[in-house]
Amino acid sequence: MTLELRGVRKDYGGVEVLHGVDLVGHPGEVLAVVGANGAGKSTLIKILSGAQPMSAGEMLMDGATVDLRSPHDAHARGIRTVYQELSIVPGLSVTENLLMGNFPRRRGLIDWAAAHARAQELLDGIGFGAIDPRTLAGRLSVARQQMVEIAKALVAEPRVLVLDEPSAVLAGSDLEALFALVRRLRERGVLVVYVSHRLAEVMELATSIVVMKDGRVIERTEPARTSETELIGLMAGRRLEQVYPERRARPGDVRLSVHGLSRRGEFEDVSFELRAGEIVGLFGLVGSGRSELARCVFGAEPATSGRVQVSGGEVRFRAPSDAIAAGLALVTEDRKRTGLVGGMSVLDNIGLTTMYGMRRGPLIDAARRRERVGEMIDRLSIQPEGCASMRVANLSGGNQQKAVLAKWLLAEPRVLILDEPTRGVDMSTRIAIYRMIDDLARGGLAVLLVSSDLTEVLGATDRILVMNQGRVTGELRSDRTTEDEILAHAIGRAA
């Protein structure tokens, strides 16, 4: 089926993130969509899958206009989407996840033997026969869960399959099974929309490549007519230098040092140092353990073994409060779930960490708090004007992120850990955040920037630690490395 987007625009609360996207995909095509974080890929996927309505423009299928109002509409028209986030139910068997209620029955009861056989058939048919349909989905590795997710989308025999970073958690034979599947779907005349960071596999799999940048499609090409280097250049654009402030690191004394830190099942034997005035990147793909490491250093989860020192002194954090007392701050990757209390005001949120320290008698010193929070709002220019008493959930994504930053800056940390601080944030806020981090580092703060965004980790840091499967596999100088080299370490294939 031919799928076409014409002049698709999308804005979130007045901020336009897609500025008129045109896109055509034909049956039997693997249409790769590449772009830096924030280029608009995720928004595009949401529109294709019916999860978000477009603000303007139209979508045509085989020449006829369609109006997707929900994922259900998209399903009905043969469009299935596999997201990065897993949606399978861990407590149910693979069979139940796949058939989702469409069980074969005998005398009104579920015929389990037939159901498992049917699931096995489905898995065999797409080359995922290595998965046992009787297993509880939650017992499978993340990679296998991802494969079940893909299988689930294929049960309905879609005509358009949208894959969002399908390979991020796959390796080895699982990855090859995925590639073989995509090729087979292509032969069957399915249109596969393939969104990926990994340019090498895009070059290998795609029949055409669409490059997105800042909410626009800036190039449509084919693997035979381009190269990875050219794609990177297109994705990053010349604006790269303007986005990231010029860094000239002058590292001071050691603020944070981590020795042989391990947490069972998440990361192993991690050691690194962080100096005052330094911005160190921590890069890794999904499942590399980067966020888990950040949380553990901050005392949010206990370590299995290893030591942490702050400014040379041994510390043992039993809770985040200990880490905060030692001068650490952690801006988590998911501001909704772990960064903000959505129902409370901006003032309450920014003042959360410091409220116990701002007391007059038993009460919060309201005047002082209002003043300090107000200063922070001005300094980070959190919009709209006079937002202190607004519910933080009503701010835009970028301003919410600034509010999380403000909360931690108010605590005047000596070590700032930022986990994906620019995820889902518009470009102007990104730039503001990079400037802010740079300023803070110049002021002597030690910053650990955890990120899965290659250009960000390369552009905004002085030094980069790369993680793969729970281990630090490389330490690189930002001014002397390339995206390819970082990626090679991240997938464990560095020379």
Partner: protein, 330 residues
Amino acid sequence: MTGQLTEPALTPTEPRRLPRLVLAGRDITVATAFVALIALLVVVAALTAETFLTPTNLTNLLKQMVTTGLLSFGMLVVILTGGIDLSVGSIVAFSGILTAGLVSGLPIPVAMAVGVVSGIGFGLINGALIARFELAPFVVTLAALTTIRGLAFVYSEVPIAPEDPGFFTLGSATLGPVPVSTLVMLAVFAVGGVFLTRTPPGRSIVAIGGNAETVRLAGINVRRHVVLAYTISGACAGLAGVVLASRVGIAQPSVGVAFELDAIAACVIGGASLAGGRGSVRATFGGVLVLVLINNLLNLYGVQSFWQQVLKGLIIIAVILVQRTNRVRS
């Protein structure tokens, strides 16, 4: 009314069914409807029941709202954390009968203090079990409901009626026309309002109900605050038990059955979310007024108590539906 009752203005995604009232930039539609409902109840009562406006009935009304009021404030604190406390009715019975039993041997204020402390103790245990072992609040306090009720009967199977007239003072004395017990309850609401809106532990409790993980990562001890919330609820229930026994003049181990439900209802009528993080002290007080007025009115009409229960249930549903319809979704 406070910001918890009235949601900030947003672009509505569904049509509004009621016109909006705005005062000083705040949407006060729900608050106004609420005050209007209470006023309506009072006017209807005054016009249709001759005895409503008599001093005796009004004093009774003020006394009757003390138990529900105290329990509702404690319940609100727990509900704000995202929990629930089903044990408060049993605590009322236990603290009442314990105090009445102790009056013969101890000075009255001391006996009453012991009653309140028993409530604090039960709340502490509830909170500790919930916070330390991460047990479901519903299950823990359900177990506490039956355990504490049993303990009340173990302490005394028969009602205890102290003879010392000093025992009745707290429940029956008045300051001018206003019962002392009502003043005690109002004081709890006043202090409680300040606690929840202007102190670090109060804000922490509200924040925990909104997003506990964010609060934990902000360096605040979530468990300790959850324990505090249940302890406050236990303390309120303990105090309510003492006041009730003192007012009635006799403590019964069977008193207080289903009191927790009225307390929950008052919070919900006041717009509190059982998911936690949203609720206001003033609106909960309004919820208490609505419940007590309805009870009083049905009593004056001589409606049979079973029908009273039916009507109360229907009214609660109606009030919540009005709030729901009127809530602008983001």
